[in-house]
Symmetry: C2
Subunit: 210 residues, 2 copies
């Protein structure tokens, strides 16, 4: 399998954590978003959304969307299972994962920030205010109230919630989002990053890191 | 079970379709987003994100995020199963569902449009340009290329992809988004809306519709 990856993409970072937790052998192919490689026809032929990540199976089939890729990897290599078998625990973990993946990340990713700058004429202070607003309000502040640390987001095993939380906190710090009011999230993050699989997936440790 | 619902929310509309397809008995409790009922302390105590929908189980447990709710309902009442058992078909259906739920809907929902108007001073033409851009680019135009109609998005049975597509097309029309270049999506939508379960979930048929 091949992962179309970008070191700084928090959606790609999620998939890298899952790959490392499951000790899967996946080739990484960098798609340099800042240089527009995701808009090249060769890449759009693979992923019409023009976003990273995408997973290419050995027969050429493409799976898009980080959470769909991670669910596929859960079926392929269930140890560890990132969406728990218990339906209620699964719902709680998915609820947090989706709160991050739907209601924080897409509002603060590169294509949206470019639109704010280029089409709405926002300067960096306007862009920063936007980033911090969506990261916190109804976002990480809500996640702080939803998790039940033990010491991962939901108990003693990592789930899809942790896999989404750690990259989103990385992105929040990149944009200097104030995180002091989120002690439970910071404790979960510290616990996660002490695990070799989470650490190996960090953006700074990728071959395409700048 | 109770569903905290809002007739015009496309995320709530997804859950209503799932409930109707599975013939579940779920009480609907309207949360009037336009009147700010989602920001009242009683509702925030249930869903810290302050978004609709949320599902309340009979013991008071709350499940948030439409796709987490639908996965929970799939476990509770697997007929019909909205995420197929086959891992590859599941990945394709989830890929389309998440392309809509992550990369279109959150950019165009009420709270974001309010921010554009109130904090970025956008007039209605600026807001419309934003809505149409995110609905189409990397959004519905990509989904048009990803689905494999048969006559639902992926074969002869409805999946999570159809459950997300139909409400997003409803939202697109509400904002007069041009859909002429999306013939596959329009054909799937027409097929879905001819099914009683999809039709019963339509916003105009809800008790809180205006």
């Amino acid at each position: 399998m091949k992962l179309y990856d970008y070191f700084r993409s928090s959606a790609a970072y999620r998939v890298r954590i899952a790959i490392e937790l499951k000790s899967l052998d996946v080739e990484r192919i960098p798609v340099h978003l800042a240089r527009g490689e995701h808009r090249l026809p060769e890449y759009l032929a693979k992923n019409p959304q023009g976003l990273a990540p995408a997973l290419e199976l050995d027969d050429g089939t493409i799976i898009i969307q980080s959470l769909a890729i991670i669910d596929y990897l859960d079926a392929l290599a269930p140890r560890p299972l990132l969406t728990p078998k218990d339906p209620l625990l699964a719902a709680k973990a998915r609820g947090v994962a989706l709160a991050i993946a739907c209601d924080i990340h897409p509002l603060n990713n590169r294509r949206v920030l470019d639109y704010l700058r280029e089409k709405l004429g926002q300067d960096e202070s306007g862009v920063d205010a936007w980033i911090h607003h969506w990261a916190l309000k109804g976002g990480l502040e809500a996640v702080e109230r939803l998790i039940e640390p033990g010491p991962f987001c939901f108990g003693a095993q990592p789930t899809i919630a942790d896999v989404c939380l750690v990259p989103q906190l990385f992105a929040a710090r990149r944009f200097a989002t104030p995180l002091d009011a989120l002690p439970k999230l910071l404790a979960v993050e510290a616990h996660c990053l002490a695990q070799p699989a989470f650490a190996a997936a960090e953006p700074s440790r990728q071959a395409d890191a700048e």
